[in-house]
Symmetry: C2
């Protein structure tokens, strides 16, 4: 970066526009008392001089920061593929829109890059606070961002988020419900197609999955980790269906991979749900559009995003917040799950 330009002051803007400093302030605060012509002249002069009111100082003084930060450490290509993040972001935006706020969105390629970015955003007052997502075990963001003092809400279980105010879905309980349901339908060979092994919530789900199998006296299954993309879900499903002891039920970590699994079953002539039950996660509209429709662990991802945004405004305003789970994903049975027929048991 270069050195800051010579600072233009409000006084210079006022002089150039032939008005008082008060008039410039009135114009930029959209208050009554100026003719349209004067208002326009002030804006034009300010633009020409490159002057703007210090919106960050204003935000601070009014405690109404109008920008919220969100950094995503995902490859750009993958971001467009998964319904979860767009649903989540649309929920955040729904709360921001009510308050005339915007979301500052950045893709980063590492958590270290995110740390540097959050520091810059906060020092330069580009954001009033940030939403932190995709926590890892021993997440490196916790110490620097806590000491920075940036108002933040962490999306993740408190075991992962190190004291940053957090909101999460109780994934362990939801996984246990999913497995118990499939077991109640008579399934004994239940597999799971999970997200990246390094992500905290993937690890929580995998542990709950194996724990529940064990508690039910069912055989453990080799985990299949993916990057959440549909094509990886297809590959994982194909490989599971080619195992000598092929599973009769598969739980997926999102819904696009379950849609892909349904396609693979059709391609391989395995009838869903007669021979194979499939259970999706997140439950975007995709699950209701396939035939058969997809059973899913449903939660309101849009509402989750909205809740996170509301919590962040509480943190920014200094209102007390308590870490809490939002509603636990619950089972929505549809056409892709059924009790195990004798033919394949």
């Amino acid at each position: 970066m270069s050195a800051p330009a010579q600072r233009i002051t409000i006084k210079e803007v006022a002089a150039a526009a032939g008005v008082s400093k008060g008039a410039v302030s009135i114009a930029f605060n959209h208050k009554p008392g100026l003719s349209e012509a004067t208002r326009e002249r002030i804006f034009t002069v300010a633009r020409e001089l490159g002057w703007a009111p210090n919106s960050s100082a204003r935000s601070l003084s009014t405690r109404r920061p109008d920008t919220i930060g969100l950094a995503l450490c995902r490859p750009a290509r993958l971001l467009g593929l998964e319904p979860f993040y767009m649903d989540f972001i649309s929920g955040i935006e729904s709360v921001l829109a009510e308050r005339s706020c915007s979301l500052l969105l950045r893709l980063v390629s590492s958590l270290d890059e995110e740390i540097a970015l959050q520091e810059a955003w906060w020092r330069e007052r580009q954001v009033g606070g940030s939403i932190l997502v995709d926590f890892h075990q021993d997440d490196p963001r916790i110490a620097p961002l806590t000491s920075l003092g940036i108002p933040a809400v962490a999306v993740g279980h408190p075991d992962l988020t190190g004291g940053i105010p957090s909101i999460w879905t109780d994934d362990a309980a939801a996984v246990a419900e999913a497995v118990r349901y499939l077991a109640a339908l008579g399934h004994r060979r239940i597999a799971r197609v999970g997200g990246p092994a390094g992500l905290g919530h993937s690890a929580i789900r995998e542990r709950a999955f194996q724990d529940t199998l064990r508690a039910l006296g069912l055989p453990p299954t080799t985990p299949v980790a993916t990057g959440f993309a549909g094509e990886e879900g297809a590959r994982a499903t194909r490989s599971l269906l080619l195992r000598p002891e092929r599973p009769t039920a598969i739980v997926y970590d999102n819904d696009i991979m379950a849609v892909a699994g349904l396609g693979v079953a059709a391609e391989m002539g395995v009838t869903v749900p007669d021979e194979l039950s499939l259970l999706a996660w997140d439950d975007s509209q995709l699950c209701r559009l396939t035939h058969p429709t997809l059973s899913a662990m449903s939660h309101d991802v849009h509402g989750f995003g909205a809740e996170v945004a509301r919590e962040l405004f509480d943190v920014i305003a200094g209102r007390p917040v308590r870490p809490r789970p939002v509603m636990t994903p619950s089972l929505t049975p549809r056409g892709s799950t059924a009790s195990l027929r004798t033919a394949v048991s």
Copy 2:
């Protein structure tokens, strides 16, 4: 809004931190020459006083604005449902990430709200430029944003974007290719499930659709307009398949509606592609995950977003740009289209 707070100056920050103004400048420009302790003390004091360097003035002086604006006039709920925008945004982000820039994203409920927002963003130097999307016929944004002088790139045909540097896909040519292909397969009753009638590109596609039917001597069909959501695509498909003269081929305006159409055909016992051909638009990964896979008018939506972002950096830098179409969507035949069997002709 309230009146601006008393402005804190760099001099006061320097005094409070016990350093020179130059040292504050060095710290905030991340230049060498200060101990870590001094650097940290400056940041702490600046934060406590609510002071930040005027990053907008700096951006102007260096001509490297680090934030790009995008306002979307879509209901928050719908935003999460359609692959197109997340793919498009991920393409924008891929170019922004290379340049350490962020996207300022806001949902608005009307074009008037967008106009006020773009004016505020530009006046307060919150963005270095904006991407404008979803042009309507006689779009009300053109005049005020042109006179504002904000660097902008319009995503839309020049007939709609009134002289703002624009990039678009040649939808008319793509629609003509889609209809001609289905006609070549022997289809004579071809229907179209389109986007909102008010959107410029919906109107362009509908006109091209009817023109091509006429040129081929095929009967015109009553247009079905939707809001792009899968469930609307399902309803539209059901209603088309219940018509006395039911179509043997349907062209959809996006891919989520085509996925929904495939589900409705299965639900109604209409075999795809034997009795009904379906052709999707945009071609996200969804089209390759269904069974049968969906034929689609494909284009690189991610690349389209990237191209728009690159063009905006050219506009901001004052480099010459020329309005141009990106690659025209082209036909990718898959399992959902086939020549018309005699049984239903």
